[in-house]
């Protein structure tokens, strides 16, 4: 299964926008693929949002999931 990931802040800058990954079924496998394909991410803290909700723990991902990588916030 292929998923598309939207990115923000320094992660968006690093990858020039969207990332596409194969063989992703949950957030654990997502993180595994990211480490393999985007080693630069190792040095960046980020949170994962699925369907506009921040996730903690492992969460299932479907083809229609909206997935986002969020580097540390700096609003205000």
């Amino acid at each position: 299964m292929q998923v598309t990931i939207i990115t923000f802040g320094q992660i968006a800058e690093l990858f020039c926008g969207k990332i596409t990954l194969e063989n992703v079924h949950d957030t654990d496998s997502l993180q595994q693929r990211l480490v393999e394909q985007y080693p630069a991410l190792v040095n960046i803290k980020y949170a994962i949002a699925v369907d506009k909700k921040l996730v903690s723990g492992n969460v299932a991902i479907s083809e229609t999931s909206s997935i986002a990588l969020l580097p540390p916030f700096s609003g205000g």
């Binding site: 939207i6 923000f8 802040g9 369907d51 506009k52 909700k53 700096s74 609003g75 205000g76």
Partner: protein, 148 residues
């Protein structure tokens, strides 16, 4: 989840003092209010590794931010007896010396207005997906990270 339309908090560019004055003025008809507490975030021209910040460029994940802000708002109104609360955050370029955040709480008595305002500021900094890119005078930049 985003069926319900959430109040927008984002404004393009800086929050002006005229805008703030207008917001304050609008409350003169609400004569049960006894206290207003306002927090303003202003962009600093910090010197970082000998480079001077001239502006911050703000971006957000708007759908998530407005959903989160909605939750924060509900939580604050459940906790404090506020008459009203207004929140504005900049997107795009805000130059040093300009305002990027305006939090405005009003209540019958001062304690509620002051405590709610402070709590909202902390939650905005901690929980809203907003990113500030600090732009230096030599056109280089770095990504800001909030200390919590």
């Amino acid at each position: 989840m985003t069926d319900k339309k959430h109040k927008n908090i984002f404004v393009q560019g800086a929050v002006s003092s005229a805008f703030i004055a207008d917001s304050i003025q609008k409350h003169s008809t609400k004569t049960t209010i006894g206290a207003h507490s306002i927090f303003l975030g202003q962009v600093r021209s910090d010197i970082i590794n000998n480079r001077k910040v001239v502006a911050i460029d703000y971006t957000t994940y708007e759908e998530l931010a407005l959903e989160k802000m909605h939750e924060i708002r509900e939580g604050i109104f459940a906790k404090y007896p506020l008459t009203c609360m207004h929140i504005y955050h900049s997107l795009g370029i805000v130059v040093a010396g300009e305002m990027c955040l305006f939090v405005f709480t009003s209540a019958v008595h001062r304690k509620e207005a002051i405590d709610a305002c402070e709590e909202v500021v902390e939650l905005i900094k901690k929980e809203l997906p907003i990113w500030g890119k600090e732009i230096f005078e030599d056109d280089t930049h770095q990504w800001k990270e909030n200390k919590l």
